[in-house]
């Protein structure tokens, strides 16, 4: 098939429109990817970027219909009969999915699924294919490939699974890899490694890379060319450097302004917070061990920190760092094995339910996922009024006025009062959750990754609201996150956690500019830095051209 020298345009999409039933998802999109280069397709949820990736791999669901042309090595994929398309899939186009935990069949071994990819190679037998599989696994930096071959997906971590999936994608020697948000489900330090691996494969094997991402910083750091999508339409296209340095479309400019990694000082200048009197949160020598399936897991070990009233303190860590356990201990949802926690001067007494209930008037929580934290059978008005009713604050007419005031404070229109959460967007739901948390006028608000389920532009809006409310009400925030760039934007002090222990803590300015511990440096290094990267990709360009 590849006897003729491949055309310069490996992939050319022309006038592509895709609809699910009669709902349009992608409208009249053109894009071109040259052989050996990388192209990032950027967009937020609903932009149609994943739909394009799926159409490219022939994975559209039955309800999806595509018009236009997808020219791959000169053949129109949309016009090919299923049998020819199947031959192309896998062999010439490799697919790396978004969520590695779910991308391998859990009841079949890694080896069995690797054999499926390897059968596309012209190798004589299973043993030969196995040898090639092990060789590929070693090539992409997986230690002990023979053990992996016999393992099942649930025995591997997310980062390893993503490596395995990349291995399966490059095994048949494809000309193009389509990576659909390949790192969004992974911890930050592992994210960096996976992106490094994809970049290296692309450069060394001359494979073209179509990188689907919501993260402008990653795109600018990792791709030669960029296409920005919104609501299924192309907003802007160009080299990564161009789009990143001088975005021409309004949407790309807004994206650029809203990505935390690119704007470390965005909120710092706007707010002048005065620390109030005393400590709002005091955590002293707290430890917690869980018993699970006969093993004990030390979730939090001897953690201490204090937060001055009126400031924002951040807890940072990857999965398994103990940050969620710490939040639950603070709210009295779990009882510490050792140590002492006080909020606004009052101890968190897990053994006295009534005192705990009293304390929670001063201490509220905003959950990570607004799609699960609001009761779907309640109206928005009922949800926001619930704390008032439970604590019997004010009388009926009063409450209504307070609810409306809370809605205004989070920039929601009064019309949403009678709607149910199902009729709201993710960002609107999180605003409702914040309104519910603030209606009792608490002193301390715990924010558990409140924006990690949301798009960057929505995140920026929520962070703005949080800043304004803090300035107005003198709130103390405990902000939990894995996103260092975001923390750099909004926190005054930070505690870095790992395996349940404090790695280091102090003022944000100090930790970010002069980290003392290797782990903190590792975390900081994983923040994408497009300015530095554009030089590197320039070097890579020269290498491939020479």
């Amino acid at each position: 098939m590849n006897a003729v020298s491949p055309p310069a345009d490996l992939l050319a999409i022309r006038g592509l429109s895709i609809a699910y039933g009669n709902k349009p998802a992608v409208h009249d999109v053109d894009l071109t990817l040259h052989a050996g280069r990388s192209l990032a397709l950027i967009g937020e949820s609903g932009s149609g970027k994943s739909t394009i990736a799926r159409a490219l791999c022939g994975l559209l669901p039955a309800s999806g219909t595509a018009r236009g042309r997808i020219l791959f090595q000169g053949q129109d994929l949309l016009a090919l009969p299923e049998a020819r398309l199947r031959a192309l899939r896998g062999r010439a186009i490799g697919f790396v999915p978004q969520d590695p935990q779910n991308a391998l069949n859990p009841v079949r071994s890694i080896g069995a699924q690797a054999q499926e990819a390897a059968r596309l190679l012209d190798l004589p037998d299973v043993a030969a294919r196995r040898a090639r599989i092990l060789q590929t696994f070693a090539r992409i930096g997986l230690a002990d490939p023979a053990r992996l071959y016999d393992a099942y997906p649930h025995q591997l971590s997310g980062g390893m699974l993503q490596r395995v999936l990349i291995g399966l994608a490059i095994l048949p020697g494809p000309a193009l890899i389509v990576a659909d948000e390949p790192t969004s489900a992974l911890d930050v330090t592992i994210q960096k490694r996976i992106l490094d691996l994809l970049g290296a494969l692309q450069a060394e094997l001359g494979i073209s890379l179509l990188l689907i991402t919501h993260d402008l910083a990653i795109a600018a750091e990792r791709a030669h060319d960029v296409v920005v999508l919104k609501d299924g339409q192309v907003q802007e296209r160009g080299t990564a450097d161009q789009v990143f340095r001088q975005p021409r479309s309004a949407y790309a400019r807004r994206l650029q302004a809203d990505v935390p990694a690119l704007n470390p000082e965005r909120f710092r200048a706007a707010t002048a917070r005065q620390p109030g009197a005393g400590e709002a949160i005091h955590v002293d020598g707290v430890s917690k061990t869980f018993q699970a399936e006969g093993r004990s897991v030390r979730a939090v070990q001897d953690v201490s920190f204090g937060v001055p009233a009126g400031t924002t303190h951040a807890l940072v860590g990857e999965s398994g760092s103990g940050k969620t356990t710490l939040v639950r201990l603070l709210l009295g949802l779990e009882r510490p094995d050792r140590g002492h926690i006080a909020v606004a001067g009052t101890p968190v007494a897990t053994d006295a339910p009534d005192r705990l209930r009293g304390l929670r008037r001063e201490l509220q929580l905003v959950y990570q996922n607004p799609f699960t934290s609001l009761d779907p059978t309640w109206s928005v008005g009922g949800i926001i009024a619930e704390p008032l009713q439970r604590y019997d604050v004010g009388h009926r007419g009063d409450r209504q006025a307070q609810v409306i005031e809370a809605l205004r404070a989070v920039d929601l229109p009064e019309q949403v009062l009678r709607r149910r959460p199902g009729a709201l967007s993710g960002g609107q739901r999180q605003r409702v959750a914040i309104a519910r948390a603030l209606i009792l006028r608490p002193k301390v608000l715990v924010l558990d990754e409140p924006t990690s389920a949301l798009d960057v532009t929505v995140q920026a809006g929520i962070v703005e609201v949080l800043f304004r409310l803090q300035a107005q009400l003198g709130l103390t925030y405990l902000f939990v996150s894995h996103d260092l760039a975001l923390i750099r934007q909004l926190a005054d002090s930070v505690t870095v956690l790992r395996h349940g222990q404090v790695v280091e803590q102090g003022p944000v300015a100090q930790i970010f500019s002069r980290p003392r511990e290797a782990y903190t440096r590792l975390l900081l290094d994983s923040i994408p830095r497009p300015a530095a990267a554009s030089r590197e990709s320039f070097l890579v360009d020269q290498e491939t051209e020479n």
Partner: protein, 277 residues
């Protein structure tokens, strides 16, 4: 439910937006309910009056379902038997829903040793085949339609308890339930306002489904002769009487079709409650 409350102003438009099959199912159910409420309105024949000269007549304009071996109009018999067939299924469902629902609620919400004990009880009820359990209860308490209904209800307790338990456990661990505790909700408030409203829809869907299943089970028990004896006209009994006259197949197929159509309609409504609505 959320969709209904979102667009209350135009009920007619809302009805028009439902699938045709669902509207048809509701029409069937309405007809069956009317049959059982006022049988005499729907048939001019006397269901007990046999005219031996007119026995075993095939279906015709005067005798829609034909006549039986005693010359009674079969359509009138079917209409007359509706009340006891439908009411006994309703009683059975209510027994299962009440006992099973409470057991499942206690088990799922309280947890601990209560859950363990009730869990074993549910296992025990599941282990005895439903139909066999109903048969044993009826034979111990006597061959009457009311005993058949109670027996069918007891046999369905396990299904309700299991579903209620899993639904309550699922919603009890939902994030929004913990959120309610954090804003001051006490146990009773959480149970009544958050857990039950979120659990009830699938339980209602099961109750409707179980209503159909009970009609089938009760028809089966009546077919074996465990219900009220003739001249009672339970649907299952009509089929049983008809099977002795293989050359007059309408005696079997007419009441059988009524059972099938009724249960199909009920199942369709159950599916509608579970998914759309």
């Amino acid at each position: 439910m959320s969709a209904t409350t979102l667009s209350p102003p135009r009920p007619l438009a809302w009805i028009g937006a439902q699938p045709l099959a669902v509207l048809l199912a509701f029409a069937v159910l309405a007809l069956v309910v009317s049959w059982s409420a006022a049988p005499s309105l729907f048939s001019s024949h006397d269901p007990f009056l046999g005219l031996t000269a007119q026995k075993l007549l095939p279906p015709s304009a005067t005798n829609w379902f034909g006549t039986d071996h005693l010359g009674r109009d079969l359509y009138a018999r079917v209409v007359q038997g509706t009340w006891s067939s439908v009411t006994s299924a309703l009683i059975a469902t209510l027994i299962g829903l009440a006992i099973g629902g409470l057991l499942g609620l206690a088990s799922g919400f309280l947890g601990g040793w209560v859950d363990t004990v009730i869990g074993r009880l549910i296992d025990m009820l599941l282990a005895i085949p439903n139909f066999l359990l109903a048969v044993v209860i009826v034979s111990a308490f006597g061959f009457q339609t009311i005993n058949v209904a109670v027996a069918t209800g007891v046999a369905s307790v396990a299904v309700f308890a299991r579903l209620m338990r899993s639904e309550v456990m699922k919603t009890s661990t939902a994030v929004f339930v913990e959120a309610s505790v954090l804003v001051g909700g006490r146990a009773a408030h959480v149970l009544l306002r958050h857990v039950l409203p979120n659990a009830y829809r699938s339980v209602v869907a099961l109750a409707v489904l179980q209503f159909g299943t009970s009609i089938l089970t009760i028809a089966g028990l009546a077919f074996l002769g465990y219900g009220d004896p003739p001249p009672a006209a339970d649907w299952g009994l009509l089929v049983a009487n008809g099977k002795d006259y293989p050359s007059s197949p309408w005696l079997v197929f007419a009441p059988a079709t009524v059972i099938v159509v009724t249960v199909l309609a009920i199942n369709r409504i159950s599916r509608w409650i579970r998914h759309a609505a």
